[in-house]
Protein backbone atom coordinates (compact mmCIF):
# COMPACT_ATOMS: atom_id res chain seq x y z
CA UNK A 1 0.00 0.00 0.00
CA UNK A 2 1.35 3.39 -0.98
CA UNK A 3 0.43 6.14 1.41
CA UNK A 4 0.95 9.85 1.18
CA UNK A 5 0.93 12.03 4.30
CA UNK A 6 0.67 15.82 4.18
CA UNK A 7 2.62 17.50 6.97
CA UNK A 8 3.15 21.11 7.93
CA UNK A 9 5.89 22.92 9.81
CA UNK A 10 4.75 24.91 12.83
CA UNK A 11 6.58 26.95 15.41
CA UNK A 12 6.80 25.29 18.79
CA UNK A 13 5.12 27.76 21.11
CA UNK A 14 5.73 28.66 24.72
CA UNK A 15 3.06 30.04 27.00
CA UNK A 16 3.00 33.41 25.25
CA UNK A 17 2.92 34.13 21.54
CA UNK A 18 5.10 36.93 20.19
CA UNK A 19 4.07 38.58 16.94
CA UNK A 20 6.20 40.30 14.36
CA UNK A 21 6.17 44.11 14.47
CA UNK A 22 3.62 44.36 11.65
CA UNK A 23 1.31 41.94 13.48
CA UNK A 24 0.99 39.74 10.42
CA UNK A 25 2.83 36.65 11.67
CA UNK A 26 4.26 34.94 14.70
CA UNK A 27 7.79 36.01 15.52
CA UNK A 28 9.55 32.69 15.25
CA UNK A 29 13.04 34.07 15.85
CA UNK A 30 13.54 32.31 19.15
CA UNK A 31 11.34 29.33 18.46
CA UNK A 32 11.88 25.80 17.33
CA UNK A 33 9.60 24.02 14.90
CA UNK A 34 7.50 20.91 15.02
CA UNK A 35 4.52 19.13 13.51
CA UNK A 36 1.04 19.22 14.95
CA UNK A 37 -0.12 16.21 16.96
CA UNK A 38 -2.73 15.46 14.27
CA UNK A 39 -0.05 15.09 11.65
CA UNK A 40 2.27 13.12 13.91
CA UNK A 41 -0.59 10.67 14.29
CA UNK A 42 -1.12 10.64 10.53
CA UNK A 43 2.50 9.69 9.91
CA UNK A 44 2.42 7.10 12.67
CA UNK A 45 -0.73 5.59 11.15
CA UNK A 46 0.91 5.49 7.73
CA UNK A 47 4.03 3.80 9.10
CA UNK A 48 1.93 1.28 11.00
CA UNK A 49 -0.03 0.51 7.83
CA UNK A 50 3.20 0.08 5.93
CA UNK A 51 4.48 -2.27 8.62
CA UNK A 52 1.23 -4.21 8.38
CA UNK A 53 0.57 -4.19 4.64
CA UNK A 54 3.91 -3.32 3.08
CA UNK A 55 4.25 -0.44 0.64
CA UNK A 56 5.66 3.03 0.97
CA UNK A 57 5.07 6.22 2.88
CA UNK A 58 5.58 9.49 1.04
CA UNK A 59 5.47 12.85 2.80
CA UNK A 60 4.31 16.06 1.19
CA UNK A 61 5.07 19.39 2.74
CA UNK A 62 4.81 22.97 1.54
CA UNK A 63 6.99 25.81 2.64
CA UNK A 64 10.45 27.35 2.55
CA UNK A 65 13.82 25.70 3.31
CA UNK A 66 13.09 24.82 6.92
CA UNK A 67 10.41 22.23 6.17
CA UNK A 68 13.20 19.74 5.52
CA UNK A 69 13.68 19.58 9.27
CA UNK A 70 10.16 18.22 9.81
CA UNK A 71 10.46 15.94 6.78
CA UNK A 72 13.68 14.37 8.13
CA UNK A 73 12.07 14.03 11.54
CA UNK A 74 9.30 11.95 10.00
CA UNK A 75 11.75 10.04 7.85
CA UNK A 76 13.27 8.97 11.15
CA UNK A 77 9.87 7.64 12.20
CA UNK A 78 9.71 5.53 9.08
CA UNK A 79 8.51 7.55 6.09
CA UNK A 80 10.42 6.70 2.93
CA UNK A 81 10.52 9.74 0.70
CA UNK A 82 9.12 13.22 0.42
CA UNK A 83 7.78 15.71 -2.05
CA UNK A 84 8.62 19.24 -1.08
CA UNK A 85 6.48 21.90 -2.66
CA UNK A 86 8.65 24.95 -2.33
CA UNK A 87 6.82 28.11 -1.31
CA UNK A 88 7.75 31.30 0.48
CA UNK A 89 5.65 30.58 3.52
CA UNK A 90 3.84 27.76 5.26
CA UNK A 91 0.86 30.07 5.71
CA UNK A 92 -0.93 29.20 2.48
CA UNK A 93 -4.52 29.80 1.48
CA UNK A 94 -6.28 26.40 1.72
CA UNK A 95 -7.74 26.62 -1.79
CA UNK A 96 -4.31 27.25 -3.26
CA UNK A 97 -2.67 24.65 -1.01
CA UNK A 98 -5.11 21.89 -1.99
CA UNK A 99 -4.62 22.67 -5.65
CA UNK A 100 -0.83 22.63 -5.42
CA UNK A 101 -0.79 19.41 -3.39
CA UNK A 102 -3.25 17.85 -5.86
CA UNK A 103 -1.03 18.84 -8.77
CA UNK A 104 2.01 17.30 -7.06
CA UNK A 105 0.20 14.07 -6.27
CA UNK A 106 -1.08 13.74 -9.83
CA UNK A 107 2.35 14.45 -11.24
CA UNK A 108 4.00 11.88 -8.97
CA UNK A 109 4.60 8.44 -10.39
CA UNK A 110 3.20 6.71 -7.33
CA UNK A 111 -0.54 6.14 -7.38
CA UNK A 112 -1.31 6.60 -3.71
CA UNK A 113 -3.88 4.30 -2.17
CA UNK A 114 -4.37 6.54 0.79
CA UNK A 115 -3.71 10.20 1.42
CA UNK A 116 -3.62 11.26 5.06
CA UNK A 117 -3.78 14.76 6.48
CA UNK A 118 -4.35 16.27 9.88
CA UNK A 119 -7.99 17.20 10.37
CA UNK A 120 -6.99 20.82 10.70
CA UNK A 121 -3.73 22.69 10.97
CA UNK A 122 -2.53 23.62 14.46
CA UNK A 123 -2.07 27.23 13.46
CA UNK A 124 -4.84 28.26 11.05
CA UNK A 125 -7.37 25.48 11.65
CA UNK A 126 -8.98 25.96 8.24
CA UNK A 127 -10.23 22.36 8.43
CA UNK A 128 -10.81 22.02 4.71
CA UNK A 129 -7.62 21.20 2.82
CA UNK A 130 -8.26 17.46 2.94
CA UNK A 131 -11.78 17.81 1.55
CA UNK A 132 -10.63 20.19 -1.16
CA UNK A 133 -7.82 17.80 -2.06
CA UNK A 134 -10.29 14.91 -2.31
CA UNK A 135 -12.42 16.88 -4.75
CA UNK A 136 -9.35 17.92 -6.70
CA UNK A 137 -8.37 14.23 -7.04
CA UNK A 138 -11.91 12.90 -7.39
CA UNK A 139 -11.64 10.69 -4.35
CA UNK A 140 -13.84 10.02 -1.34
CA UNK A 141 -12.90 11.61 1.95
CA UNK A 142 -13.52 11.01 5.62
CA UNK A 143 -12.58 13.73 8.09
CA UNK A 144 -11.64 14.15 11.74
CA UNK A 145 -10.95 10.45 12.17
CA UNK A 146 -9.72 8.99 15.45
CA UNK A 147 -9.72 5.31 14.59
CA UNK A 148 -8.89 3.55 11.34
CA UNK A 149 -8.45 0.01 10.06
CA UNK A 150 -7.93 -1.04 6.49
CA UNK A 151 -9.05 -4.29 4.97
CA UNK A 152 -10.02 -5.37 1.46
CA UNK A 153 -9.44 -1.95 -0.04
CA UNK A 154 -11.75 -0.25 2.43
CA UNK A 155 -10.80 2.10 5.23
CA UNK A 156 -13.08 1.79 8.21
CA UNK A 157 -12.88 5.14 9.95
CA UNK A 158 -14.19 6.23 13.31
CA UNK A 159 -15.01 9.76 14.30
CA UNK A 160 -15.41 10.50 17.99
CA UNK A 161 -18.56 12.40 18.89
CA UNK A 162 -18.90 12.83 22.59
CA UNK A 163 -18.65 9.38 24.06
CA UNK A 164 -19.81 7.76 20.82
CA UNK A 165 -18.05 6.88 17.62
CA UNK A 166 -19.47 7.30 14.14
CA UNK A 167 -18.17 4.73 11.70
CA UNK A 168 -17.58 5.56 8.04
CA UNK A 169 -16.37 3.20 5.35
CA UNK A 170 -14.28 4.70 2.61
CA UNK A 171 -13.18 2.75 -0.44
CA UNK A 172 -9.57 3.27 -1.42
CA UNK A 173 -8.04 5.19 -3.03
CA UNK A 174 -9.22 7.82 -0.58
CA UNK A 175 -8.34 10.86 1.48
CA UNK A 176 -8.65 10.67 5.27
CA UNK A 177 -8.04 13.50 7.70
CA UNK A 178 -7.13 12.35 11.19
CA UNK A 179 -7.09 13.67 14.70
CA UNK A 180 -4.69 13.42 17.60
CA UNK A 181 -5.53 10.30 19.56
CA UNK A 182 -5.59 8.05 16.51
CA UNK A 183 -2.51 6.40 17.98
CA UNK A 184 0.48 7.23 20.12
CA UNK A 185 3.20 8.41 17.74
CA UNK A 186 6.56 6.77 18.33
CA UNK A 187 9.71 8.74 19.01
CA UNK A 188 12.42 8.67 16.38
CA UNK A 189 15.28 6.31 17.16
CA UNK A 190 18.93 7.08 16.51
CA UNK A 191 19.18 4.47 13.70
CA UNK A 192 16.00 6.00 12.30
CA UNK A 193 17.71 9.38 12.30
CA UNK A 194 20.71 8.01 10.52
CA UNK A 195 18.59 6.37 7.83
CA UNK A 196 16.56 9.56 7.52
CA UNK A 197 19.56 11.47 6.25
CA UNK A 198 19.75 9.42 3.07
CA UNK A 199 16.09 9.38 2.14
CA UNK A 200 15.17 11.38 -0.95
CA UNK A 201 13.27 14.65 -1.07
CA UNK A 202 11.90 15.61 -4.48
CA UNK A 203 11.50 19.32 -4.82
CA UNK A 204 8.68 20.64 -6.97
CA UNK A 205 7.56 24.18 -7.52
CA UNK A 206 4.00 24.85 -6.56
CA UNK A 207 1.82 27.07 -8.69
CA UNK A 208 -0.08 28.98 -6.05
CA UNK A 209 -3.29 30.81 -6.85
CA UNK A 210 -3.87 34.22 -5.33
CA UNK A 211 -5.66 33.84 -1.99
CA UNK A 212 -9.26 34.91 -1.70
CA UNK A 213 -8.84 35.33 2.06
CA UNK A 214 -6.63 38.30 2.83
CA UNK A 215 -5.02 38.47 6.26
CA UNK A 216 -5.45 41.91 7.82
CA UNK A 217 -3.75 41.27 11.11
CA UNK A 218 -3.19 39.04 14.11
CA UNK A 219 -3.67 39.82 17.75
CA UNK A 220 -2.79 37.82 20.79
CA UNK A 221 -5.68 38.28 23.21
CA UNK A 222 -4.28 40.04 26.25
CA UNK A 223 -4.20 37.57 29.03
CA UNK A 224 -5.09 39.42 32.18
CA UNK A 225 -4.19 37.35 35.14
CA UNK A 226 -7.38 36.46 36.91
CA UNK A 227 -5.46 37.22 40.09
CA UNK A 228 -5.83 33.73 41.42
CA UNK A 229 -6.77 33.57 45.05
CA UNK A 230 -4.07 31.75 46.98
CA UNK A 231 -5.58 28.93 49.00
CA UNK A 232 -2.35 28.19 50.79
CA UNK A 233 -0.96 24.67 51.05
CA UNK A 234 -1.42 21.41 52.91
CA UNK A 235 -4.47 20.85 55.14
CA UNK A 236 -5.42 24.48 54.96
CA UNK A 237 -5.57 24.28 51.18
CA UNK A 238 -7.57 21.05 51.23
CA UNK A 239 -10.17 22.68 53.51
CA UNK A 240 -10.31 25.74 51.28
CA UNK A 241 -10.75 23.58 48.20
CA UNK A 242 -13.65 21.72 49.77
CA UNK A 243 -15.25 25.09 50.58
CA UNK A 244 -14.86 26.22 46.98
CA UNK A 245 -16.40 22.97 45.75
CA UNK A 246 -19.34 23.52 48.05
CA UNK A 247 -19.77 27.10 46.85
CA UNK A 248 -19.82 26.03 43.23
CA UNK A 249 -22.26 23.33 44.15
CA UNK A 250 -20.26 20.33 43.00
CA UNK A 251 -20.07 19.07 46.54
CA UNK A 252 -23.10 18.95 48.76
Amino acid sequence: MDICVCIKRYPSLGSAIMLTDDGMAIDTDKLGFTLSPHEECAVEAAVQLKEEHGGTVTLISMGPEGVEEQIREQFAIGADRAIWIRSDSTDIDPQAAAKAIGDAIEADETAFDLILLGSESADNANAQTGVRLAHRLGRPVATAIKGMTIADGVATCERAVGTMREVYRVRLPAVVTVKDGLNIPRYPSVPGRIKARKKPIDEVTGDLDAPSIQLMGLTAPIRESKGAQDLGAGDEAADALVDVMKQIGVLS
Binding site: G14, H135, A160
Partner: protein, 320 residues
Amino acid sequence: MILVYADHDRGELDPLALQVVSAARGLDADVHALIVGPNAEKCVDDLASAGVRTVHHGTNAAIDDYTPRANANAVITVMDRLEPRAVLAAGTPRGSEVLAHVASIKDLPLVTECSEIALTGSGTAEVTRARWGGNLLERSEVSADVLLATVQAHAFAVSEDAGDAQVEAFEVPVTDADLEVSIVERTGAAETGVGLAEAKVVISGGRGMDGPEAFGMLEELADILGGAVGCSRVVTAAGWRPHAEQVGQTGTKVAPDLYIAFGISGATQHIAGCKSAKTLIAVNTDGQAPIMTHADYAVVDNLHTLLPVLIEKARAAQGA
Protein backbone atom coordinates in the same frame (compact mmCIF):
# COMPACT_ATOMS: atom_id res chain seq x y z
CA MET B 1 -30.61 36.36 3.20
CA ILE B 2 -28.36 34.20 5.30
CA LEU B 3 -28.51 30.43 5.16
CA VAL B 4 -27.66 28.36 8.22
CA TYR B 5 -26.71 24.74 7.82
CA ALA B 6 -28.25 23.19 10.94
CA ASP B 7 -26.80 19.82 11.78
CA HIS B 8 -28.62 17.18 13.70
CA ASP B 9 -28.05 13.61 14.73
CA ARG B 10 -31.01 11.39 14.03
CA GLY B 11 -33.38 14.27 14.66
CA GLU B 12 -31.55 15.81 17.61
CA LEU B 13 -30.48 19.33 16.72
CA ASP B 14 -26.88 20.28 17.34
CA PRO B 15 -27.30 22.91 20.08
CA LEU B 16 -24.59 25.01 18.46
CA ALA B 17 -26.90 25.48 15.46
CA LEU B 18 -28.87 28.00 17.49
CA GLN B 19 -25.70 29.99 18.15
CA VAL B 20 -25.10 29.97 14.41
CA VAL B 21 -28.61 31.31 13.85
CA SER B 22 -27.82 34.07 16.29
CA ALA B 23 -24.63 34.88 14.36
CA ALA B 24 -26.61 34.90 11.11
CA ARG B 25 -29.24 37.25 12.50
CA GLY B 26 -26.50 39.69 13.32
CA LEU B 27 -25.86 39.91 9.59
CA ASP B 28 -29.38 39.95 8.23
CA ALA B 29 -32.84 39.61 9.75
CA ASP B 30 -33.76 37.20 6.99
CA VAL B 31 -32.32 33.90 8.17
CA HIS B 32 -33.14 30.57 6.58
CA ALA B 33 -32.05 27.24 7.94
CA LEU B 34 -31.30 24.03 6.13
CA ILE B 35 -31.85 20.59 7.56
CA VAL B 36 -31.20 17.36 5.75
CA GLY B 37 -32.38 13.78 6.06
CA PRO B 38 -34.95 11.77 7.95
CA ASN B 39 -36.16 12.95 11.36
CA ALA B 40 -34.80 16.43 10.68
CA GLU B 41 -38.25 17.93 10.98
CA LYS B 42 -37.93 17.47 14.76
CA CYS B 43 -35.53 20.41 14.70
CA VAL B 44 -37.89 22.92 13.16
CA ASP B 45 -39.46 24.17 16.38
CA ASP B 46 -36.13 24.82 18.03
CA LEU B 47 -34.91 26.72 14.99
CA ALA B 48 -38.11 28.72 14.88
CA SER B 49 -37.79 29.68 18.52
CA ALA B 50 -34.41 31.20 17.71
CA GLY B 51 -35.86 33.37 14.97
CA VAL B 52 -35.69 31.23 11.84
CA ARG B 53 -38.79 31.77 9.76
CA THR B 54 -37.95 29.52 6.81
CA VAL B 55 -36.54 26.01 7.16
CA HIS B 56 -35.47 24.12 4.06
CA HIS B 57 -35.68 20.41 4.54
CA GLY B 58 -33.75 18.35 2.00
CA THR B 59 -34.54 14.69 1.69
CA ASN B 60 -33.81 11.80 -0.54
CA ALA B 61 -34.82 8.21 -0.11
CA ALA B 62 -31.18 7.26 -0.36
CA ILE B 63 -30.20 9.43 2.59
CA ASP B 64 -30.86 7.68 5.87
CA ASP B 65 -28.22 9.20 8.10
CA TYR B 66 -25.56 11.89 8.02
CA THR B 67 -23.97 11.85 4.55
CA PRO B 68 -21.49 14.70 4.13
CA ARG B 69 -21.58 15.11 0.35
CA ALA B 70 -25.34 14.74 0.10
CA ASN B 71 -25.68 17.41 2.76
CA ALA B 72 -23.36 19.60 0.74
CA ASN B 73 -25.51 19.03 -2.32
CA ALA B 74 -28.51 20.15 -0.29
CA VAL B 75 -26.69 23.35 0.67
CA ILE B 76 -25.76 23.98 -2.94
CA THR B 77 -29.32 23.41 -4.14
CA VAL B 78 -30.63 26.10 -1.78
CA MET B 79 -27.69 28.38 -2.50
CA ASP B 80 -28.25 28.19 -6.22
CA ARG B 81 -31.93 28.85 -5.90
CA LEU B 82 -31.97 31.64 -3.29
CA GLU B 83 -28.50 33.18 -3.62
CA PRO B 84 -27.89 33.84 0.09
CA ARG B 85 -25.30 36.44 1.03
CA ALA B 86 -23.69 33.94 3.38
CA VAL B 87 -23.90 30.31 4.43
CA LEU B 88 -22.97 29.61 8.03
CA ALA B 89 -22.49 26.40 9.98
CA ALA B 90 -21.21 25.42 13.40
CA GLY B 91 -17.48 24.91 13.73
CA THR B 92 -17.95 21.22 14.45
CA PRO B 93 -16.41 18.36 12.47
CA ARG B 94 -19.66 18.00 10.55
CA GLY B 95 -20.24 21.70 10.00
CA SER B 96 -16.72 22.18 8.72
CA GLU B 97 -16.96 19.06 6.61
CA VAL B 98 -20.20 19.96 4.88
CA LEU B 99 -19.10 23.52 4.12
CA ALA B 100 -15.71 22.27 2.96
CA HIS B 101 -17.46 20.09 0.41
CA VAL B 102 -19.60 23.05 -0.63
CA ALA B 103 -16.54 25.26 -0.90
CA SER B 104 -14.71 22.65 -2.95
CA ILE B 105 -17.55 22.09 -5.37
CA LYS B 106 -18.33 25.80 -5.78
CA ASP B 107 -14.65 26.81 -5.66
CA LEU B 108 -15.38 29.35 -2.95
CA PRO B 109 -13.30 30.35 0.06
CA LEU B 110 -14.35 29.05 3.47
CA VAL B 111 -13.47 30.77 6.73
CA THR B 112 -13.67 28.66 9.85
CA GLU B 113 -13.95 29.26 13.59
CA CYS B 114 -15.26 32.81 13.25
CA SER B 115 -16.06 34.81 16.36
CA GLU B 116 -17.02 37.98 14.49
CA ILE B 117 -18.45 38.39 11.01
CA ALA B 118 -19.24 41.58 9.13
CA LEU B 119 -20.48 41.90 5.57
CA THR B 120 -18.62 44.92 4.35
CA GLY B 121 -19.68 45.28 0.75
CA SER B 122 -20.90 43.37 -2.20
CA GLY B 123 -18.74 40.31 -2.31
CA THR B 124 -16.56 41.21 0.66
CA ALA B 125 -16.67 40.37 4.33
CA GLU B 126 -14.45 40.84 7.34
CA VAL B 127 -14.10 38.12 9.92
CA THR B 128 -12.33 37.54 13.17
CA ARG B 129 -11.39 33.94 13.63
CA ALA B 130 -9.43 31.80 16.02
CA ARG B 131 -5.98 30.53 15.27
CA TRP B 132 -3.91 28.31 17.51
CA GLY B 133 -6.96 27.08 19.36
CA GLY B 134 -8.00 30.62 20.20
CA ASN B 135 -4.65 31.74 21.53
CA LEU B 136 -4.39 34.08 18.57
CA LEU B 137 -7.09 36.07 16.76
CA GLU B 138 -6.96 36.62 13.03
CA ARG B 139 -8.73 39.41 11.20
CA SER B 140 -9.22 38.69 7.53
CA GLU B 141 -11.01 40.02 4.54
CA VAL B 142 -12.80 37.49 2.39
CA SER B 143 -13.73 38.12 -1.22
CA ALA B 144 -16.63 35.94 -2.33
CA ASP B 145 -20.13 36.44 -3.63
CA VAL B 146 -21.33 33.98 -1.03
CA LEU B 147 -19.49 33.96 2.27
CA LEU B 148 -18.98 30.45 3.60
CA ALA B 149 -18.12 30.45 7.27
CA THR B 150 -18.16 28.26 10.35
CA VAL B 151 -18.84 29.80 13.70
CA GLN B 152 -16.74 29.27 16.80
CA ALA B 153 -18.58 27.55 19.63
CA HIS B 154 -19.86 29.92 22.32
CA ALA B 155 -18.86 33.06 20.39
CA PHE B 156 -22.49 34.01 19.86
CA ALA B 157 -25.18 33.74 22.48
CA VAL B 158 -28.49 32.20 21.50
CA SER B 159 -31.22 34.82 21.24
CA GLU B 160 -34.84 33.82 21.55
CA ASP B 161 -37.35 35.05 19.00
CA ALA B 162 -40.45 32.96 19.27
CA GLY B 163 -42.46 32.36 16.16
CA ASP B 164 -43.25 29.79 13.58
CA ALA B 165 -41.19 28.60 10.69
CA GLN B 166 -42.36 27.65 7.31
CA VAL B 167 -40.86 24.37 6.13
CA GLU B 168 -39.94 24.03 2.48
CA ALA B 169 -39.13 20.47 1.60
CA PHE B 170 -37.07 19.60 -1.42
CA GLU B 171 -35.40 16.62 -3.02
CA VAL B 172 -31.62 16.56 -2.65
CA PRO B 173 -29.94 15.51 -5.86
CA VAL B 174 -27.42 12.74 -5.21
CA THR B 175 -25.22 10.43 -7.21
CA ASP B 176 -23.80 7.13 -6.02
CA ALA B 177 -20.49 8.84 -5.37
CA ASP B 178 -22.20 11.34 -3.06
CA LEU B 179 -23.61 8.52 -0.99
CA GLU B 180 -20.42 6.56 -0.72
CA VAL B 181 -19.27 8.07 2.57
CA SER B 182 -21.86 8.10 5.28
CA ILE B 183 -22.36 6.86 8.79
CA VAL B 184 -22.71 3.12 8.58
CA GLU B 185 -22.69 2.36 12.22
CA ARG B 186 -22.32 3.90 15.65
CA THR B 187 -20.29 2.23 18.32
CA GLY B 188 -21.09 2.62 21.96
CA ALA B 189 -19.48 4.75 24.52
CA ALA B 190 -15.85 4.50 23.56
CA GLU B 191 -14.99 6.46 26.66
CA THR B 192 -16.39 5.26 29.91
CA GLY B 193 -17.77 7.30 32.75
CA VAL B 194 -18.94 10.83 32.42
CA GLY B 195 -18.17 12.26 29.00
CA LEU B 196 -15.29 14.68 29.27
CA ALA B 197 -16.82 17.31 27.00
CA GLU B 198 -20.06 17.44 28.94
CA ALA B 199 -18.69 16.87 32.44
CA LYS B 200 -19.54 19.50 35.04
CA VAL B 201 -16.33 18.76 36.87
CA VAL B 202 -13.03 17.90 35.24
CA ILE B 203 -10.09 16.73 37.33
CA SER B 204 -6.99 16.96 35.19
CA GLY B 205 -3.39 15.86 35.68
CA GLY B 206 -0.21 16.84 33.91
CA ARG B 207 3.51 16.22 33.94
CA GLY B 208 3.57 16.86 37.67
CA MET B 209 1.71 13.58 38.23
CA ASP B 210 5.10 11.96 37.63
CA GLY B 211 3.59 8.82 36.13
CA PRO B 212 0.33 6.95 35.64
CA GLU B 213 0.07 5.76 39.26
CA ALA B 214 -1.17 8.97 40.83
CA PHE B 215 -4.08 9.20 38.39
CA GLY B 216 -5.86 6.72 40.65
CA MET B 217 -6.27 9.57 43.10
CA LEU B 218 -7.71 11.83 40.39
CA GLU B 219 -10.25 9.11 39.53
CA GLU B 220 -11.19 8.88 43.16
CA LEU B 221 -11.71 12.62 43.43
CA ALA B 222 -13.63 12.71 40.14
CA ASP B 223 -15.88 9.94 41.46
CA ILE B 224 -16.69 11.89 44.59
CA LEU B 225 -17.50 15.02 42.58
CA GLY B 226 -19.30 13.21 39.79
CA GLY B 227 -16.78 14.43 37.29
CA ALA B 228 -14.44 13.16 34.63
CA VAL B 229 -10.68 12.76 34.57
CA GLY B 230 -8.70 14.77 32.05
CA CYS B 231 -5.04 15.20 31.35
CA SER B 232 -2.53 17.21 29.38
CA ARG B 233 -0.87 16.16 26.14
CA VAL B 234 2.38 15.25 27.90
CA VAL B 235 0.43 12.60 29.75
CA THR B 236 -1.09 10.96 26.68
CA ALA B 237 2.19 11.20 24.77
CA ALA B 238 3.85 9.32 27.62
CA GLY B 239 1.11 6.73 27.42
CA TRP B 240 0.02 7.29 31.04
CA ARG B 241 -3.60 7.88 30.05
CA PRO B 242 -5.75 7.32 26.95
CA HIS B 243 -6.03 10.10 24.44
CA ALA B 244 -9.75 10.39 25.01
CA GLU B 245 -8.93 12.12 28.28
CA GLN B 246 -6.71 14.74 26.73
CA VAL B 247 -7.90 18.28 27.25
CA GLY B 248 -6.48 20.81 24.81
CA GLN B 249 -6.26 22.19 21.34
CA THR B 250 -5.89 18.74 19.78
CA GLY B 251 -7.84 16.94 22.45
CA THR B 252 -11.20 17.70 23.95
CA LYS B 253 -12.30 21.26 24.64
CA VAL B 254 -14.16 21.40 27.90
CA ALA B 255 -16.35 23.99 29.60
CA PRO B 256 -17.15 22.55 33.05
CA ASP B 257 -18.28 24.39 36.15
CA LEU B 258 -15.06 23.34 37.85
CA TYR B 259 -11.73 22.45 36.34
CA ILE B 260 -8.89 21.41 38.61
CA ALA B 261 -5.44 21.21 37.03
CA PHE B 262 -3.00 19.12 39.02
CA GLY B 263 0.62 19.53 38.00
CA ILE B 264 -0.20 21.15 34.68
CA SER B 265 2.04 24.07 33.72
CA GLY B 266 -0.40 25.55 31.20
CA ALA B 267 1.06 25.42 27.70
CA THR B 268 -1.00 27.15 24.99
CA GLN B 269 -2.09 23.74 23.67
CA HIS B 270 -3.70 22.91 27.03
CA ILE B 271 -5.18 26.32 27.81
CA ALA B 272 -6.97 26.20 24.46
CA GLY B 273 -8.96 23.27 25.83
CA CYS B 274 -9.85 24.44 29.33
CA LYS B 275 -10.13 28.20 29.25
CA SER B 276 -13.93 28.04 29.06
CA ALA B 277 -14.16 26.46 32.51
CA LYS B 278 -16.30 28.57 34.85
CA THR B 279 -13.93 28.02 37.75
CA LEU B 280 -10.35 26.94 37.32
CA ILE B 281 -8.21 25.75 40.20
CA ALA B 282 -4.52 25.17 39.67
CA VAL B 283 -2.43 22.98 41.96
CA ASN B 284 1.25 23.27 41.23
CA THR B 285 4.57 23.43 43.05
CA ASP B 286 5.44 26.38 40.85
CA GLY B 287 3.41 29.38 41.93
CA GLN B 288 4.33 31.18 38.75
CA ALA B 289 3.43 28.50 36.23
CA PRO B 290 1.54 29.98 33.25
CA ILE B 291 -1.63 28.16 34.34
CA MET B 292 -1.80 30.48 37.34
CA THR B 293 -2.71 33.45 35.14
CA HIS B 294 -5.85 31.54 34.12
CA ALA B 295 -6.71 30.23 37.54
CA ASP B 296 -9.35 31.52 39.92
CA TYR B 297 -7.79 29.69 42.82
CA ALA B 298 -4.24 28.54 43.31
CA VAL B 299 -2.67 25.98 45.59
CA VAL B 300 1.09 26.04 45.57
CA ASP B 301 1.89 22.64 46.97
CA ASN B 302 2.98 19.14 46.11
CA LEU B 303 -0.02 17.39 44.58
CA HIS B 304 1.16 14.01 45.83
CA THR B 305 0.82 15.09 49.44
CA LEU B 306 -2.23 17.29 48.91
CA LEU B 307 -4.44 14.82 47.04
CA PRO B 308 -4.86 12.17 49.78
CA VAL B 309 -5.88 14.87 52.25
CA LEU B 310 -8.22 16.52 49.78
CA ILE B 311 -9.89 13.23 48.87
CA GLU B 312 -10.47 12.42 52.50
CA LYS B 313 -11.95 15.83 53.24
CA ALA B 314 -14.10 15.87 50.09
CA ARG B 315 -15.42 12.42 50.89
CA ALA B 316 -16.20 13.48 54.43
CA ALA B 317 -18.02 16.55 53.16
CA GLN B 318 -19.97 14.46 50.68
CA GLY B 319 -20.94 12.00 53.36
CA ALA B 320 -21.98 14.70 55.80
